[in-house]
């Protein structure tokens, strides 16, 4: 197994591990934006660039830590002038593109980048930095491929086909959960009982608990789960239409206990805005 010496710390990693994996093992922080362990790393945001130092003073090589495969012993510098300059430059360009993202500003502050010298010259869809995580998770993890990239160059944007509301979106919210800059949001329309994945305009009905009336996951998500489980059992289907709370009460009642006390599991990380229109 090759060893990676990073910021003076040496770790051994399996063949073809990434530099980022080695860095995490060595407890060295490298900023990331378009990286997420559940999807393949494409190395597009370029914020994780580090320098592989050359042997005997030979010039080093800048690579993206998230997808550079370690195949031999290497020495990596995160803090080298060259690497730090590139990361700073990339962050400045992103701040110019997405000036209103709190998440991006937080990361910039952690990197020690104070603001950007550049004006905003490219249009972004609500601070989208085009990292592509939403597209990847929709395709690779959810299997819906509801969104993709439209346009080229500065015209590039994430959208459903023809920039219309998607027909295949199941409103699972995975894209919103994975978005590192808060571009994608799940909006709950209380009047129609729908979840909207904004800004893609896709809407899906929300499943309502048959007993207490609380809104749960979207109907297509529940449907997709049922299809995947392939359980043809009437009582199960009925239970699936209940919220966890009511299900627990059901179970407790069936076992002869009183009603359970805990509440619904919070939907972590997903930014949920209540919209009434």
């Amino acid at each position: 197994m090759p060893t990676v010496t990073i910021e003076g710390k040496t770790v051994t990693v399996p063949h073809e591990s990434t530099i980022l994996q080695a860095a995490r093992k060595a407890h060295v922080w490298i900023p990331t934006l378009c990286y997420h362990p559940t999807v393949p790393s494409l190395g597009v945001c370029r914020i994780c660039m580090v320098e592989i130092l050359g042997n005997d003073g030979a010039p080093g090589r800048l690579v993206t830590a998230c997808n550079y495969p370690v195949r031999r012993d290497i020495t990596v510098s995160v803090s080298s002038e060259r690497a730090a300059q590139v990361r700073k430059g990339v962050m400045q360009l992103l701040l110019a593109r997405a000036p209103d993202s709190g998440e991006l500003q937080e990361l910039a502050a952690r990197m020690g980048v104070r603001g950007t010298p550049y004006p905003t010259v490219t249009e972004s869809q609500r601070n989208c930095i085009l990292c592509g995580l939403c597209v990847s998770v929709c395709e690779e993890v959810i299997g819906a491929s509801a969104i993709g990239f439209a346009g080229r160059g500065v015209e590039r944007a994430v959208a459903a086909p023809f920039r219309q509301a998607s027909e295949t979106c199941i409103a699972c919210g995975a894209c919103a959960a994975i978005c590192p800059v808060g571009t994608i949001q799940v909006r709950i329309h209380t009047d129609t009982g729908e979840a909207e994945i904004s800004p893609f305009k896709s809407r899906s009905k929300l499943l309502v608990c048959e007993e207490c009336g609380i809104r749960m996951v979207s109907v297509p998500v529940a449907q997709a789960m049922n299809d995947r489980l392939k359980i043809d059992w009437e009582e199960f289907r009925h239970l699936a239409r209940l919220c966890p709370e009511c299900r627990r009460k059901h179970a407790a009642k069936a076992l002869g206990f009183g009603a359970g006390e805990d509440s619904v599991i919070p939907l972590e990380k997903i930014q949920v805005n209540e919209v009434n229109n």
Binding site: V44, M49, N67, Q85, L93, L94, G153, V154
Partner: protein, 634 residues
């Protein structure tokens, strides 16, 4: 693919049969002592050469019917041939025997050429090339500096053979290198030959071809499949080398690919060619069909046991698809966007299999290397760059056209001797090489040799071979802006530095060319240029700043003039110069006054006119309309 080839009975089964077939062809062609060659390369075709070809065919048919009138047994053949090179003076018609070259031929000339030259053996003086220096008429290409400074290896058969006829190619020695390679050489020894020849990739990168082939040959493939790709996605503005080779000698490209496939052990090949090149696609398709029929493609080629076939894929016109990984993504049916190349495509390329990708011109060099031997090939060129390079010479040059020169020749010889210097007697300012990612080389560096490393040292690059000549009226800030604008619209937008950085640099250039720039902007350009070259995902982004860096390096004064004095020295940036009427030359005819859309010009009849600068919108109308050249840009 395999079934299609199996269904056809092959014509040639071994290298020996190939040579016998060639002998038969050569004997037959001797009788065709009079040949009219009409160039139908895209340049000449645009000037109507296809019609000329038809007329020559009709004339030949008519004279054959007349029979004894032309001396009995003389056979006259009209051929349409690929690009002859001297596109500026097209359509080009060459008559054999004598290799008499006529230029700028028009339809009414056909009858005269046929009567005088083809039948009568006399020369039509007025259609001959006139040496601009000596004013003497010359008959053959060998006497024209445009041709005699060149060294043609890749273009050797361009302009001589009919690209739609495999017999023509075989008759001039075509596929003999394939016969030799398959008949008597081991794959490794072919790679050795290519290595000794010193062949480097002609697509722009200049990577040693043999090293690529060897890595691919040695790479492990999960199912033994290896791919071979010919990159014909020529997208640089002003470049048409690959198009001319594909149009003019498609079999040369195929032969190189088949030899390469045998060397690396590839079983499938693709030619990725732009859809904007319909003639190239047509000729390649035809050539592939013919090669299959003859047994140069398909199963058990020339009895060697080696099998290989080629498909054509037409590109959708994205410049970035010329990048190898983007091209492969496009071939796989995905969006043509590059990916990180930490794992090389020779290990895992198309469909995750080892893949060799070379440019059209690189492939077209291979048969010559095997044919002439690596020693002879390596004798041409410089220490680090061997062989020849094809350039398309465009811009403000007298002889626009396609040229092939030995590596190491100076830029000056290409521009002055072959190109005939700058048009209209203007002064030379710079030459842009290497396409949009290349750089501008100024007059002081014209004695630099054409060599991969030398051009890189000068801040440009060899690129695929576009050479754009600029004269004194060209504003270098505007040039940088043009190329950056091109790259902005061609960047795929996948990675941050390229997408955002190019847009930022273009915004700065835009300000400078409007006279709103500041000196600090030049520093910002340098910082952004550095960021792009260090941080971009693919070569498009890494080299995108070259047009800015090279113009800043050689023409910084011009940038400063825009910024400090709000003046464009080349008088190209609108608003950064004014129009004035020279009282000496002005005849007071009033044309400018009548045409001025904002009534900024005043003056009595027959008296010098004056432009009111406060009203003038710099629309350029007066400059264009003045018949006496009295309106000046200052």
């Amino acid at each position: 693919m395999a079934t299609a080839t199996a269904a056809v009975r092959k014509i040639i089964h071994s290298p020996k049969e190939l040579e016998a077939y060639r002998d038969k062809l050569v004997k037959k062609t001797k009788k065709n002592s009079r040949i009219v060659r009409v160039c139908i390369g895209t340049g000449c075709a645009a000037k109507g050469s296809r019609r000329l070809y038809e007329l020559f065919c009709e004339a030949a048919a008519a004279s054959a019917q007349a029979g004894s009138g032309n001396g009995g047994n003389v056979v006259i053949e009209s051929k349409h041939v690929g690009c002859h090179g001297l596109c500026e003076l097209g359509p080009i018609v060459v008559i054999d025997p004598g290799e008499i070259l006529y230029h700028s031929v028009e339809e009414p000339d056909v009858a005269e050429i046929f009567r005088e030259t083809v039948l009568g053996g006399r020369v039509v003086e007025r259609l001959l090339y006139e040496d601009p220096k000596t004013k003497e008429k010359v008959k053959t290409p060998a006497e024209i500096p445009f041709y005699n400074v060149q060294k043609r290896i890749v273009l050797k058969h361009n302009g001589h053979i009919d690209p739609t006829s495999i017999d023509d190619y075989i008759a001039v020695g075509g596929y003999s290198s394939l016969g030799r390679a398959l008949g008597s050489m081991e794959p490794e020894s072919i790679i050795d030959q290519v290595e000794k020849a010193g062949l480097r990739g002609r697509g722009g990168g200049g990577f040693p071809t043999a090293r690529k082939w060897r890595s691919c040959r040695r790479a492990e493939s999960p199912d033994g499949i290896r791919y071979l790709i010919c990159n014909g996605d020529e997208g640089d503005p002003g470049a048409f080398m690959d198009r001319s080779v594909m149009e003019g000698n498609p079999h040369g490209v195929l032969e190189g690919m088949i030899i390469g496939a045998y060397a690396v052990g590839a079983s499938r090949g693709y030619i990725y060619v732009r859809n904007e090149y319909p003639l190239a696609v047509e000729h390649l398709k035809l050539a592939i069909d013919q090669a299959r029929k003859f047994g140069f493609l398909g199963e058990d080629i020339l009895g060697s046991g080696f099998s290989f076939d080629i498909r054509i894929n037409r590109g959708g016109g994205a410049f970035v698809c010329g990048e190898s990984t983007a091209l492969m993504a496009s071939l796989e049916g995905r969006t043509g966007e590059p990916r990180a190349k930490y794992i090389h495509t020779v290990e895992s390329g198309l469909n995750g299999r080892p893949t060799v990708l070379n440019n059209v011109e690189t492939w077209a060099n291979v048969p010559s290397i095997i044919g002439m031997g690596s020693g002879e090939f390596a004798a041409i060129g410089t220490e680090g760059s061997k062989g020849t390079k094809v350039f398309s010479l465009v811009g403000k040059i007298t002889n626009t056209g396609l040229v092939e020169v030995p590596m190491g020749i100076t830029l000056r010889r290409i521009i002055e001797d072959i190109g005939g210097g700058v048009q209209n007697g203007k002064a030379f300012k710079a030459v842009q090489t290497g396409g949009p990612s290349g750089g501008c080389i100024p007059a002081e560096q014209l004695d630099a040799p054409v060599d991969f490393d030398e051009l890189t040292r000068l801040g440009s690059m060899m690129g695929s071979g576009g050479m754009i000549v600029m004269d004194e009226d060209t504003c270098m800030v505007n040039v940088a802006k043009y190329f950056l604008g091109f790259l902005k619209s061609e960047s795929c937008g996948k990675c941050t530095p390229c997408r955002e950085g190019i847009a930022q640099m273009l915004a700065i250039l835009d300000r400078i060319s409007k006279g709103e720039g500041e000196l600090e902007d030049l520093d910002s350009l340098h910082v952004l240029a550095e960021l792009l070259s260090e941080g971009s995902l693919c070569a498009l982004g890494k080299t995108a700043a070259n047009p800015i860096l090279s113009t800043l390096r050689y023409f910084r004064g011009e940038y400063e003039e825009h910024i400090l004095n709000k003046h464009c020295p080349a008088r190209e940036c609108k608003g950064l110069f004014i129009y004035q009427i020279d009282p000496e030359s002005c005849t007071g005819c009033g044309i400018c006054r009548k045409n001025c859309p904002v009534e900024a010009i005043s003056g009595e009849r027959k008296a010098p006119h004056v432009i009111d600068q406060a009203i003038c919108t710099k629309c350029n109308t007066c400059f264009e309309k003045c018949p006496f050249g009295a309106v000046m840009k200052v």
